[in-house]
């Protein structure tokens, strides 16, 4: 296990429903990441398909043992790849999934557990809901993947941190909305930047957030991908609203330093949480 590794954030602009074209985009970004010295390259949510798929979900879906994922596995021989797609299962369910692909094989699949279905979002109409939040042992130490809306639920990162993750990778397709304040970015971007910092500091964890850009049916995505360290510092930031590939080194010794200074996770009382959750779960309906 390497204590230090270099991550590349591939802030792409996927083409809606065009997997072949998006796969070429992945090939190019992986090559660029490798040239930049990266050990890990992370793509946005649904990086192989685009976001507003609607009835196109079954047409663009891929099996984890299918040819598109096999190509990604080939790409992962030198550089570990986190890519995101519509995963079709053998019983014909479709998940919004992120894949951890390392040294030529898929090591872990995270199926998005919180599918936003309100306002401008309609994910539960098209996707099955994932049922697990699990950290995994990677070539760079223990980490976890959470997809976009997952991270808006504090419970997911709480579970990932307690499961031993030293870093969380979050592929995202976050749309811009709210052009009201006198700021360099929209309201949604500023909310994300608030929670990534809060979570990173609360759990003494690295947060690797990778968002997409471009417009789909008038909906823009704000980009602004970043790595936040356990002290809440921004190590690298991709541009807002335009594509980019940025890299930075992650030194897991910072997790150690932060957790010595503020051992919040050590003091976390899982039994207390379980007791209270059990009471709430079986108590009077709210």
């Amino acid at each position: 296990m390497a204590d230090r590794f270099t991550v590349a954030l591939a802030q792409t602009k996927p083409h809606l429903g065009d997997v072949a074209r998006n796969l070429r985009q992945h090939e190019e970004a992986v090559a660029a990441a490798r040239d930049a010295g990266a050990n890990l390259v992370v793509f946005p949510e649904l990086s192989l398909t685009g976001y507003h798929l609607k009835d196109d979900v079954p047409s663009v879906a891929q099996r984890v043992d299918g040819p598109v994922v096999r190509r990604l596995e080939e790409l992962s021989r030198d550089v570990t790849v986190v890519a995101s797609l519509v995963e079709e299962t053998s019983d014909f369910r479709f998940f919004n999934s992120a894949l951890w692909i390392e040294q030529g094989a898929v090591r872990h699949v995270h199926r998005k557990v919180y599918l936003p279905t309100y306002g401008m979002f309609d994910e539960s109409r098209y996707f099955a809901r994932g049922g697990h939040v699990r950290a995994l042992d990677t070539g760079f130490g223990r980490g976890a993947m959470l997809v976009c809306e997952d991270l808006w639920h504090a419970s997911t990162i709480y579970l990932a941190a307690l499961d031993g993750a030293l870093f969380v990778v979050c592929p995202s397709s976050s749309p811009l909305r709210g052009v009201s304040e006198d700021a360099a970015q929209d309201d949604n971007a500023r909310f994300w930047e608030l929670i990534t910092r809060a979570y990173a500091q609360t759990y003494g964890i690295f947060v690797v957030y990778v968002n997409r850009v471009g417009f789909e049916d008038g909906v823009g995505f704000w980009g602004g991908s970043e790595v936040v360290d356990p002290h809440g510092r921004t190590l690298v930031k991709a541009p807002y609203y335009e594509p980019g590939l940025v890299t930075c080194e992650i030194d897991l010794a910072e997790v150690r330093r932060k957790r010595i200074a503020a051992p919040l996770l050590r003091d976390e009382d899982i039994d207390l949480t379980l007791r209270e959750l059990t009471r709430i779960r079986h108590g009077a309906p709210r």
């Binding site: 083409h15 809606l16 609607k54 009835d55 009201s180 417009f215 335009e242």
Partner: protein
């Protein structure tokens, strides 16, 4: 473009809010909105394989802002503004349209619509002003689409959020377009953004008008001022204030009810025509794809 407009049937001008209203006006970060809308036009136009747009240049602020955004997004040489005056259109409108074209460096041309409009209404001399206005709006639409075919261009829309919500536009007339950068901007936001984007001040500061007859203005026809109705619509639509909350916030009950009725009764203008469901997959009901499908 400034459009012939008719209020939704059955709605009369309603009294505006008079008391101090305690909801905020629609906010806008003009610098950011400008950048995003330029990106939007570039992205949504170019992904279709097209590099040009055509739009109607009325001399009003909406088409002026749309022209400026398009010129920045696609290059001025890729934007064609078409002036389509009727014989009663004001000379000032045409002069303002020329100023806009010059300001943003876009090409412009004039296609008079008087001959075909007059020829048509010779057969229907009793036609009302609203029929004439709608006919003119649709005539202008066919000209824009014809020139978009000539140039391999898309038609750029200029309807703002206020008129789309109120139904203050002609269905398949000025409301028709391929890409509309202004559809999520209230009129007061259009004014702010137009100033930011460098639209000539004469164009921003004059009273909005459909220019169908001498002295016509939007605000006298609607019966309320844009800043008032935009504040109401922003609270009603964006902030989701209910009727009682709007009244408690200082809006006159008749104003709230009248505007709510206009929004409701013009819903058809914001939708595809109603299709009878017979098959297992009906367009737009259970046949659902993004417009940018495959782009």
């Amino acid at each position: 473009m400034s459009a012939p407009r008719t209020a939704a049937p059955g709605t009369e001008p309603v009294p505006a809010a008079t008391d101090a209203v305690r909801t905020p006006p629609p906010p806008l970060n003009a610098k950011l909105a400008h950048r995003l809308l330029v990106d939007f036009v570039a992205d949504e136009v170019k992904k279709t394989g097209v590099t040009r747009v055509v739009l109607g240049l009325s001399g009003g602020v909406d088409s002026a802002l749309a022209a400026g955004l398009a010129a920045e997004a696609l290059g001025a040489a890729n934007v064609l503004g078409i002036k389509m005056p009727y014989r009663t259109s004001s000379a000032e409108s045409l002069q303002h349209a020329d100023q806009v074209a010059e300001r943003f460096g876009i090409e412009s041309m004039t296609v008079e619509i008087s001959p075909q409009i007059d020829a048509y209404f010779e057969r229907f001399p009793d036609a009302s002003a609203s029929r004439r206005g709608n006919k003119m709006a649709r005539e202008r639409m066919t000209i824009l689409y014809d020139h978009s075919a000539r140039l391999g261009a898309l038609v750029l829309g200029t309807s703002n959020k206020t008129e789309l919500l109120l139904g203050y536009g002609t269905l398949y007339g000025d409301m028709a377009s391929a890409v509309n950068p202004l559809g999520d901007l209230y009129k007061v936001q259009v004014w702010d953004l137009a100033r930011h984007a460098g639209v000539p001040h004469e164009v921003v500061d004059k009273p909005p008008t459909a220019d169908l007859w001498v002295g016509q203005t939007d605000e006298s026809e609607l019966g309320f001022a844009y800043p008032e109705v935009d504040r109401l619509l922003y609270a009603m639509i964006d902030l989701r204030f209910g009727r009682d909350e709007l009244v408690a916030a200082g809006f006159a009950p008749d104003f709230v009810d009248g505007v709510a009725r206009m929004v409701q009764r013009s819903q058809f203008k914001r939708k595809l025509p109603v299709i009878a469901k017979l098959s297992r997959r009906t367009i737009d009901r259970d046949f659902r794809y993004a417009r940018d499908w495959g782009l």
